[in-house]
Amino acid sequence: MVRMQLSGGYNLNLAGKPSLGITELLKVPSLISVKAIDLHGIKPLMKVKVGDKVKAGDVLFLNKANHKVKVVAPFDGTVKEVKRGDRRVLLEVIIDVDGKQSESQFKSKSVDDISEKDLMDHLLDTGSWPFFRQYPYNVVADPELRPRDIYVETLCNEPHVPDMNYVLQDQKEAFEKGIALLKKLTPGNVYTGLANTEIEIPKWMRSVKGTTPVYTNNIYPAGEASVQSYNVAPIKKNEVIWHINAQDLIAIVNLLESGKLDYSRVMTVAGSCVDKPQYIKTYVGSAVKVVTKDGVSYGENRYISGGIFTGTTIEKDGYLGFYGHSLHVIEEGLNREFLPFQRPGFEKASFSRVFLSTFFGPDTFVQTSSQMGEERACIACSHCEEVCPVDIKPQFLFKSLLAEDYAMGEALGVKDCSLCGLCTYVCPSKIDLDDIISSAQKFLHKEG
């Protein structure tokens, strides 16, 4: 057991919180997407083309750098579209689903008896591998490496993403099996981040065999693997750690035991523009219009797959991403406010104390996608340093990265950054630190 007191971090109280109670949307979808763009570190090598018939479990594409890493079709169907973006980067593969998922695509195995090698092969062949991600750089795990530790995401406290204390309540058995699997993959510890959210930590979670619980305070981003690792056991040179979401882990257990792909997850539909923010159970890669069946208020809206800080923008008629278990809908910030900075600001969300909302604010704030100001030079207010969960001084880091001084960047902790987005959120000069740091991380990852 480890106790982690996070310095930094910030809880943003946003409107549009999902209410408890899970609505099942498990009808086999007519269209489903596999978001290749979410799989950082994978260079896709296509194995199918538009019009091909695929069965659930058939390989859609491989990682060019390591053909063992495969991404598979979640359902039977026809490849409807292979979407590419700038410079032909593969964005997603959309499958027109036949309306069924054939039974037992893979051989079922027992969790207890499976050897490490068999487990690896199984994970790679079933396309489960990309659910494992690796730090530094938060890329899809490299099967040639052994992780020092594995972190299971049992605490997700970005605003309005599924509360794992709630989701995992009744999943004791599958979760324990999952931990047994992970123990085969690492010689080190399997960490689970635990904190009382609105819901208490399920009792059994405190004493799962094989885990090292990391008790922490419920403040974003205490649940992030790299934040925990930085505070609990920093990654040394030539070491890597892996992390996996607890729901993904349970799906892997289900697949192993039943031989049937399990892409269903408990997700949230949230945000100020959602008519009925709620928990739903649906499939990874579902269409936005399926999960928003209860309606969103009319207007120019921003659809986000994943959390409000780390999620990606998707189209209104797009699909959910590979990892983010939630959909946020907020208003696009196109409205121009009269006398914006001269107001007392009772309703303005801010980490700083320059608005009266600090003292007389509402419980939750409605935020749009507005940048809330224009970009300016850094004025060294050091808010970014105050919120950083991994003790980075972002106001110095971003300057050395802009000057392409990567040696200094590494010394200042560019690899420790989990891209939680808080520094960018609080910046009064509206500097996109997140973008600068993630570009540098991509560059450093590529250059080795």
Binding site: K236, R302, P340, S350, Q371, R376, I379, G421
Partner: protein
């Protein structure tokens, strides 16, 4: 407001848009538009929402914090002028007289400095920065009320152009622009910036009251000597001239416009602390540095030394520009040290230097300005070493 917004958007499109006749002057137009309406920029990717604070709000907090010192400064400038020429000192006439002295300076400072700011924005094709809103108000507040307007104009031009724009504008400047402007005036026109005759406006020398001296407490303390045991000590000498601690604390004394009232400045400091805009660390460290240095002089100076050596340290805090500099100048985040530890060292250095310069060099009774400028120059060095320590700590963590 929709109508006004439409007018603005249409004007932008027709006159200032790409390829339109006034395209070059878009920064100026943009400044006016974004003063009235929030800009339209939206986030493109995560984080999808942003904190409501922007630099405009941030800077306006400093302006708000300056209001007590500004109002008191206006009143005091008038009060001193009325008093020196034995005219009515009721509130209204002091205020009117003060407005006559101060408002032209403020308008001039904003107009001249703002013009430079706009010129650079147009040439460099970047938006006009709101940092100038603060500089433009700070500068008049640290001037003597009698300064000729043309000197102030040259001063603010120097401050904005050499103090800030040549380094790349707001956020890039090494020195505090308002202090650069004042330093320029101080060294170029010493006759109008120092001495005993510049702090009080004398409208009609014939009416001047007998025995009037416009000397500031610092000048009196510097000139004071105690040769015989029966001579008054420096505190008694100051009190005899009307400069008791309470008088200097409340601020109805000659001095630069905004600097005299420690009470008004403390109100501003309290406000800044509540909204968290200026660094409290810097302020505390600065006061601490001054107290330590003051104590050393107070205890160890030889009896023959000038009166200022024998000042009880707490008096340093209410004399001259110390309080104003400590609260509003030293805490300027851009020219100050940026690390938390750095701020402590930086603030302490300012406190030490301010008292040191005041005391040891009677030619520069206003040590605060020089102390801050000096530490501004050292701030990057301080940060460099603090960062080295930070980097070493990080490295150790990953080894």
């Amino acid at each position: 407001m929709k109508v006004l917004l439409d007018i603005f958007e249409k004007t932008r499109k027709d006159l200032f848009g790409p390829g339109k006749p006034l395209e070059k002057f878009e920064p100026g137009y943009d400044a006016a538009e974004t003063f009235l309406f929030s800009p339209v920029h939206t986030t493109k990717k995560g984080p999808h929402v942003r904190d409501a604070v922007d630099t405009k709000r941030y800077m306006s907090m400093v302006i708000a914090a300056l209001i007590p010192a500004l109002i008191f400064g206006i009143y005091n400038a008038g009060y001193q002028a009325q008093l020196a020429t034995s005219q009515s000192i009721d509130c209204a006439s002091c205020f009117i007289e003060g407005l006559k002295l101060v408002v032209p300076l403020i308008i001039l400072s904003y107009a001249v400095g703002g013009t430079w700011e706009a010129i650079f924005a147009v040439v460099r094709k970047h938006p006009i920065n709101e940092g100038f809103l603060v500089t433009g108000l700070l500068f008049p507040l640290i001037l003597p009320p009698t300064i000729p307007l043309w000197q102030a104009a040259i001063g603010i031009s120097f401050g904005v152009v050499i103090g800030k724009e040549v380094f790349g504008g707001t956020g890039m400047n090494v020195l505090n622009p308002a202090l650069v402007a004042r330093a320029f005036c101080f060294f170029s026109y010493p006759g109008k910036m120092s001495g005993d005759n510049v702090w009080v406006h004398i409208s009609d020398p014939a009416k001047m009251v007998d025995g009037f001296s416009g000397a500031t407490p610092l000048a009196i303390a510097a000139a004071h000597t105690k040769t015989a045991a029966t001579d008054p000590n420096v505190v008694e000498a100051l009190t005899a001239k009307g400069f008791s601690f309470m008088a200097m604390f409340s601020g109805l004394i000659p001095g630069s416009i905004g600097e005299t009232s420690t009470v008004a400045i403390l109100l501003g400091a309290l406000f800044l602390a509540i909204v968290g805009v200026a660094s409290f660390r810097t302020m505390i460290a600065c006061v601490f540095g001054a107290m330590v240095t003051g104590l050393i002089f107070y205890n160890f100076a030889p009896a023959s030394a000038a009166g200022i050596y024998h000042l009880p340290p707490h008096l340093h805090l209410v004399m001259g520009g110390f309080a104003f500099g400590c609260v509003f100048m030293a805490t300027d985040p851009v020219s100050s040290a940026a690390t938390n530890t750095g701020k402590l060292i930086y603030g302490f250095g300012i406190g030490v230097l301010a008292v040191l310069i005041r005391t040891v060099n009677p030619a520069y009774p206003e040590g605060m300005m020089l102390a801050i400028l000096f530490m501004n120059v050292f701030a990057p060095l301080i940060d460099f070493y603090v960062i080295q320590v930070h980097v070493a700590d990080r490295r150790r963590k990953h080894e």
